[in-house]
Symmetry: C5
Subunit: 365 residues, 5 copies
Amino acid sequence: MNIAGRKTRSLLTSRLFGARPEQPGSPPGTLTQRGEGKVERPKLTIITYDEAAFEEREIALDQAAQYASVGRTLWLNVDGLGDVEVLRELGRIFEIHELILEDIVNTGQRPKVEEHDDCFFVVLKMIYGNRQRDDIEAEQVSLIVKKGVIISFQEREGDVFGMIRDRLRSAKGRVRKTGADYLAFALMDAIVDNYFVVMEQLGDQIEILESEVLEEPGTQTAGKLHALRTRTILLRRSIWPLREVVSGLMRAESKLVHKTTLAYMRDLYDHTIQVVETLETYRDMLSGMLDLYLSSVSNRMNEVMKVLTMIATLFIPLSFIAGVYGMNFQNMPELTWRWGYAGALALMAAVAATFLVFFKKKRWF
Amino acid sequence: MNIAGRKTRSLLTSRLFGARPEQPGSPPGTLTQRGEGKVERPKLTIITYDEAAFEEREIALDQAAQYASVGRTLWLNVDGLGDVEVLRELGRIFEIHELILEDIVNTGQRPKVEEHDDCFFVVLKMIYGNRQRDDIEAEQVSLIVKKGVIISFQEREGDVFGMIRDRLRSAKGRVRKTGADYLAFALMDAIVDNYFVVMEQLGDQIEILESEVLEEPGTQTAGKLHALRTRTILLRRSIWPLREVVSGLMRAESKLVHKTTLAYMRDLYDHTIQVVETLETYRDMLSGMLDLYLSSVSNRMNEVMKVLTMIATLFIPLSFIAGVYGMNFQNMPELTWRWGYAGALALMAAVAATFLVFFKKKRWF
Amino acid sequence: MNIAGRKTRSLLTSRLFGARPEQPGSPPGTLTQRGEGKVERPKLTIITYDEAAFEEREIALDQAAQYASVGRTLWLNVDGLGDVEVLRELGRIFEIHELILEDIVNTGQRPKVEEHDDCFFVVLKMIYGNRQRDDIEAEQVSLIVKKGVIISFQEREGDVFGMIRDRLRSAKGRVRKTGADYLAFALMDAIVDNYFVVMEQLGDQIEILESEVLEEPGTQTAGKLHALRTRTILLRRSIWPLREVVSGLMRAESKLVHKTTLAYMRDLYDHTIQVVETLETYRDMLSGMLDLYLSSVSNRMNEVMKVLTMIATLFIPLSFIAGVYGMNFQNMPELTWRWGYAGALALMAAVAATFLVFFKKKRWF
Amino acid sequence: MNIAGRKTRSLLTSRLFGARPEQPGSPPGTLTQRGEGKVERPKLTIITYDEAAFEEREIALDQAAQYASVGRTLWLNVDGLGDVEVLRELGRIFEIHELILEDIVNTGQRPKVEEHDDCFFVVLKMIYGNRQRDDIEAEQVSLIVKKGVIISFQEREGDVFGMIRDRLRSAKGRVRKTGADYLAFALMDAIVDNYFVVMEQLGDQIEILESEVLEEPGTQTAGKLHALRTRTILLRRSIWPLREVVSGLMRAESKLVHKTTLAYMRDLYDHTIQVVETLETYRDMLSGMLDLYLSSVSNRMNEVMKVLTMIATLFIPLSFIAGVYGMNFQNMPELTWRWGYAGALALMAAVAATFLVFFKKKRWF
Amino acid sequence: MNIAGRKTRSLLTSRLFGARPEQPGSPPGTLTQRGEGKVERPKLTIITYDEAAFEEREIALDQAAQYASVGRTLWLNVDGLGDVEVLRELGRIFEIHELILEDIVNTGQRPKVEEHDDCFFVVLKMIYGNRQRDDIEAEQVSLIVKKGVIISFQEREGDVFGMIRDRLRSAKGRVRKTGADYLAFALMDAIVDNYFVVMEQLGDQIEILESEVLEEPGTQTAGKLHALRTRTILLRRSIWPLREVVSGLMRAESKLVHKTTLAYMRDLYDHTIQVVETLETYRDMLSGMLDLYLSSVSNRMNEVMKVLTMIATLFIPLSFIAGVYGMNFQNMPELTWRWGYAGALALMAAVAATFLVFFKKKRWF
């Protein structure tokens, strides 16, 4: 089990920690350029809107500053955290604390909310089922909520905010009429709503596995159970702290969050609780299924043993009788009897019948 | 286990989530029309009463408005949530917040109470045993408690409020003399009282299964245990949050709840605790029964093994002796002895007796 | 497992719920006459005392009123809850709230204390071992503590208050010098003291079972373990809430409880904690004993398997050798050898010795 | 399991409850003379000291009063609780509440601290390993801490306070310079320090057992594991409440405890936490060892099964072939072939080789 | 299991307790010289710095005093706790309370923070994987944080503070610009950062073991699982209390900690939570892996049993038939039949085929 000399990070480790600085003792707030070779430039997209106007475009880094003080609500979305320089520059433009920037880059954060003087910093996990690999993937989404400005950082392109963009574009619903705090809520709501999708997928898998356990448990079943349990354990790490995040936002008495948004936050909190409880229910069910599986393995072994025992118990005494009359003693009177053979067969039948009655009485078949 | 492409919702998923919007990111407070084809119109029933008068009738949607401001206590019951337009119209008439309407329609809510400025919103689960399918069914009941008005929303027709209607009609008891808050209590009390019925059914099933485990555990027993455990897990989700709901109502310092009703709320709270504790007791008992079942499976396997071992151990050496004297060597002096055959039989008897004594000493029979 | 149509309540159900109204939705505070046929009249006994005087007698219902306002401390004990009319009349005389009367009659209450304006209402479980049936029985005792008046309701005659009556009669100790609150404490103390007796009985049973598990575990042992665990689970329901009851009384800042009585309440609280912790210790020990039992079952199966394996492994190869020389080929040179038979026996001995050495090396015997 | 009629208390019962009054309902605060026959008189030892003087002597009961009001710090140690009269007299001299006296005599108390108007009453368990019986024994030590006076009650002679007496005699350290509160701390500290000794002994036993489980688990191992687990369960009862005791003393804002002593109390609290956590670690480790033991039992059974299966599977088909050619049909052409016998042997060898390859492929050996 | 007479401390004991005084009852705050023979002198290293200047050198004990009141921030690092005199002298120079000195020497402390009037005393565990022994080692690091002075005590040379020294030397980052409180944070941060390294190593080992459990579980696997679980249990003792330590420092309203450092403390707290949760996740995963392992052992036994059962069930009846026709009765008509032998073989084939169909139906192969 000696692991000295391993260089590549294992899957578990990276799933649990995400990216982290290698060197203990390095100063906090330092943004270290990760990876080798060419750096992938982040993609910056801005959406500005108020009740009347709406603008959406991809921008270059040097254009970001000019949007920082636009009068309308600004949503700056950053896809890709590979280029440290870009983050540092954004930090300078939007006055983001270096520790926040470090948390954004180190994608192994647990979900949390931090209230700063002029902003909220929210870390969430966006989770979606990867249908190709039949696995669940998590991506860290960091939100900075300032007065009139939302900045969201994602590890990769592709997110669950499509419908929000649609609502912004089409001016449907309340989202264009309200400020940055409602947009922040909407983003978090979309992430949590997507948890339900993941939860339903997981629930379907549990149900399929449950019928497998009940109907035809095989040697693979234990491995599948284990895989699902590991998945709930890892999901739990992402989802459990969410309750504190949302309740932290509800309790925060900040001017950044309007009172009307609080009602929506309470709704979001209800959803979060529901996801957390569903996960706990899954854990209970998987644990029950393991018990069921183990007792089913025992039962099958019992059945195998019974078959062996019945056959062996039935025939071993008969073989013994045959063996006796196969002995070559010169003086064996039975061998010369007229009904000797028939008698021996009858004896065997009687013994077999006795055992069958015994098994019947024991309810073995 | 890949579930991509499944379209129909599984039983587990729908039991856990009820109906939910499909699309993450859709705006909160949006009522989406569920299902295809023709919409089943909800059935609206009103009961108005004061100490002197009583009226009960089924109404059409457009009649609802005229009852909204009747002087007497009004109980409007809505059976069926399929038609979103009706709910929207009721929301408009009785000034119900859009988030509340959304919660009413999405029947996967956990039991909760929300205190709003002018009303309480209570979500409960009505649970009843379905005798045909030998299963337990849950139906979401949402109550809106306003000054002088109770609106109750149910998924289907048929409820546990029959006796309350009788008491209202016959002016028996305190229910006609008191206001909407007492009626709300009475409705919740009827729901919780029915939990006891479900609990007794569950307790009976547990008891029947317990004697099965003790007396003749079969291969089906583990599955039955699992089914009962799953049932308690799912019941727990409906019942556990109830404590918070009732204690939330007790602590609420609202003008909507009279002080005299609070004493009844405390009674209801006691009942709720009792249900919750009974469920926990069931869990403990089912877990103990699983242990008992597993040890019984082990014991039966032990017994099977013992039978096999005794028979095999007894006859294998005897067969060996018979085999020896069945060998065809020309020079086997025993074969020609006068008492050779009898001696061999005696030897066999001696060996068998030795083993029987050994088994007896080991207390194997 | 379909239980539809069952009419009689199972033991478990009645143990958990006691008597309860059948019909959900029936109004709270309604006293329904239970049972059919003739009603057993409750037995009313009063004891009045002050430091100087003492009176004890059985009374009829219509005499109760005249004692309600006697100057001395009054203890009215009611044995039997079958006649609802009597309770209603007592409720009228002593001004007892209808919800309290309902709780007294429905004997499935969990232990609790309720502080009302002019009285405390305490529900306790009196537990005693039934030596005939080797079981534990619980009886609900309800206490109403008013200024100068204690009313106690019991399900059946026979209680653990004998020594308190003796102390009252003989004017020994502090009980005659103090008021109703101290008498209430003394009654509760007698009930809790009796828990120790039950606990000791349970402890003795656990100890006897522990030596059975250690020395000669049989197939009945698992059932006995299960029975004891179920007993602790049910006891827990009666005893666990007791802590809240006593601490509730300690914290209550009521004029009904004198400061000097509070010191005794603290003592009672200590005893309650001790009972609760003992029960938890029993649970831990029973759970440990189950593990021990299961490992002992496994070990015995191991032993059985070893015997089978050794015998079979020893003789099957020997039988094979005998079988080979029992073949009837015409051309088998060994059969005609002079030492053929002896050689075959020697070969068998050598094979057997090899296996015995192998088993010895494996430490199988 | 009927225990009716048993008179003697079992070991478990007495270990859990210590001595307790037999009769429920007996008045609190009553000191009942326990045991029959002659009463063992307690041994009273006093130590009085201040910074300058020191006196230590055994005294008779009637001398106690004259020391009650000596100017110096007084430590009165009472060994033996058998004589109720002595305790009553001491209670009279030092004004000890009757409930405290009762707690001192009933040695089944859980560790606790009670703050009274003019004194602290502390109950602790002194635990020491009994090397003769390889068991752990507990003795109740009660401390009464008054202004300038410490009274300690022990069940038996012999304690862990030897070094404190030495420090008092030799005027070393701070103990002579400080008051009764520091002495109380020192006594408690000595008791807790001794827990570490017991913990180390337990740790050594766990470690020895761990290597037994890992290297050569036998049928006795499960019993030893169970014994150690029971020991931790019983120790937990004595040690767990200690945290509350010490933190209770720390929080008490009494003039009896000087501020300088509080720093030492905090130190003691740290030690207590350490003992509690060590015990929890032991529980976790023992639970892990049980899992290891069970899997080792399963593995050994697997190994036994494999040996049986290999031998049986190898030879049963061979015996069958030999059986076929041992049949006595007149018309069996193989029997007359020249190479018939050799061919049969070759066939057997081929079958055996096939099975060996099969086993090898299955990695059974 | 009697351990009387053992002199050397076991590994477990020393891992749990570290070094502790042997004699219960010895006065607190006493520094006892541990070990025999020559004492290893501690190595004292000082670093003094402000924004402009930096000095780093190893000093002798008598030089320490002159640095105590240098104007710049002073970091005195002590490697080795063997020489009690040196500690006593340092305690005198820097006015350290005797209880703190005792805690520094007794290396079995749990992580804690103590707030004193003029200093913080922090105890931490520095943990690093020992690659040679493939084990995890812990070393106690005690920090004393005074105004402008940090004193760190380590058991051995070698630590994780290398990068901090580099940052101090090179005046990089904020560490030279800030005071002693930030340095204290940096030291703690380096220790916690190193936990991540240990956690990743542990995670890698768990992952390697997981694939072993899934792919080829052997008899060693259970032992390895047990070793990893024990490691997590021991790590938990070191890491769990850390949360309280860091949150204690965050809440402390001391002038010693500047407000700007608090933000970094919050960052450290997040890291600590992350480590704690990762450890809990590991525990959950290891517990899941044990279940998987046990079910895999059961499955393998099942497979072995099936092979045995199939072979035995197939051949035992065939052998019986052969045995019948091997009997030596004179009157066995079949033996003389022309197709007798072929018929017997055909019968055998039919029986074998029947069983094969039976096994196929049971899905045994």
